[in-house]
Symmetry: C2
Subunit: 292 residues, 2 copies
């Protein structure tokens, strides 16, 4: 299986970055060289010990200067500074992509710094776990998951990048940045915000109640705590960088929650029942779509 | 392994009721007779075909008249009518328990109808899945899950019931009804309400966006749809019967969500980061408590 790129650089060695390296290693990769860099020396040392990259570089420009594909897998709040760092050393005709969860902000932060003779093609793998850091990565993270490429029209470069993601196991679709940010606001960002909130609410309860919340955590809450265990820096950056779409979805959510709150207070059983029946059908569609 | 009761009646043949029958069947049960009843003839027919009860009865009084343990595994909104139906036929010294998710309401609905010579001991297994109906049950549902018994002081009867639940795999603890309802409001009822809400919000989006919400449902949302696929009648009844505690927790949640909303709008990165870091530690405690 061809990887379409000979020299691949991964900047940012967290869950996503190391999973990309693991996934590349799981393929026949004759003639492929990988370069790894993270601003945190501890992460570089761990990845060096894991032997999942051809070179772990101590300087960011060393990691990208020969690469024909550069993947930025850093929190979206760091994209701008990384783009400024790498811009002078990028190879002519290289492709630069990123894996950030907000796309308008990354395009705003990165595009203007990328030289004209380099292709910047933003992307986002819809894959992750609640674990973070270089030891959290694994080779099958992207298998059967969507990897969205942000572009208005397909080019030879976007097609080549799509092939590369497909070889890591992903299904590739192209969408606009605006559309991406709206879809992610409701499917990922708002659910995380709500999970963080309810776990916070529980942790503010009186001490005896709080201890038993942990002890007796039933399925609903347990799922929320898993979601709310995700990387705090990554999520801070997401909410700051997709605030418009998140706040819009949050407003809709608040209106719906007020409706249900009123239905409970007024004891409107029929309304509650019909609402809960409707949501059940959405789950069925997701299972049918193979995304369960 | 002794089951402590010779004649056991299960009223309500959904996920919980059939799981109890499966669990009893998975034990050595020499001399144990089980009686099963559901108001829905289709459910009775399915359970008859599954051969998990000694007798599947077509009349509720047939199912309980000889039983020394009667387990009411019906939605909490049906507890009162079931209690009225069974009261005249209950055997002297029998124990009646229930598996409802709200305890104050069940005690109010059931206690006054139970004859003086019968012991009513409310209980609640903290176990479940998003599936419902007689085919959803399985024998290990209660293994390593808490089963809460509601009582002020332990008696021979509560101890005997606890031994029975322990033999099904559960860890038994005793709590008061008020405390139970508060703990469940934050660990189970509010998370479900929120999951139902956000899935409803998503299903109200414009058609094209909605279809892609299903298609691209990332981990957060996918988990919420699973929670929001639970039995609508059961959950309608829970919210109507634990409304006070749910509305109290919902108010706290709303205040916390407003705070985060404001932090996003005002771009207070430090506040978001510290909030998200705090919730992460709660997850750690749950994993340490073995409830993950």
């Amino acid at each position: 299986m061809e990887l379409y790129f000979k020299k691949i650089s991964v900047i940012g060695l967290g869950l996503i970055g190391t999973s990309i390296l693991h996934a590349i290693n799981s393929k026949k990769k004759i003639g492929v060289t990988t370069y790894a860099y993270d601003v945190n020396p501890k992460h570089r040392k761990i990845v060096l010990g894991m032997k999942i990259a051809t070179f772990v570089c101590d300087e960011i420009h060393e990691a990208i200067k020969d690469a024909d594909l550069v993947i930025l897998a850093v929190p979206v709040g760091s994209m701008k500074s990384v783009a400024i760092s790498i811009a002078p050393s990028l190879k002519e005709s290289a492709i630069v992509t990123d894996t950030g969860s907000t796309k308008n902000s990354v395009i705003n932060d990165v595009s203007s710094f990328i030289p004209k003779n380099v292709n910047f093609i933003p992307s986002h793998p819809l894959a992750g776990t609640e674990y973070s850091g270089p030891e959290a990565g694994f080779s099958s993270l992207f298998v059967n998951r969507y990897w969205l490429i942000i572009c208005d029209k397909k080019t030879d470069q976007t097609k080549k990048l799509a092939k590369f993601f497909e070889n890591l196991g992903s299904t590739v679709e192209t969408v606009s940045a605006e559309y991406h940010d709206k879809i992610l606001a409701i499917t990922s960002h708002l659910p995380h915000l709500i999970a963080y909130t309810i776990v916070g609410t529980a942790s503010d309860l009186e001490a005896d109640l709080k201890n038993d919340v942990i002890k007796f955590s039933a399925s609903g809450f347990r799922d929320f705590t898993r979601i709310a265990a995700s990387d705090p820096i990554m999520w801070r950056d997401i909410f700051l960088n997709n605030s418009e779409a998140v706040l819009e979805m949050l407003q809709r959510f608040n209106e719906d929650l007020s409706d249900l709150q009123k239905a409970i207070r007024k004891r409107e059983g029929e309304k509650l029942h019909s609402f809960f029946s409707r949501t059940r059908s959405i789950r069925k569609k997701i299972i049918e779509a193979g995304q369960n």
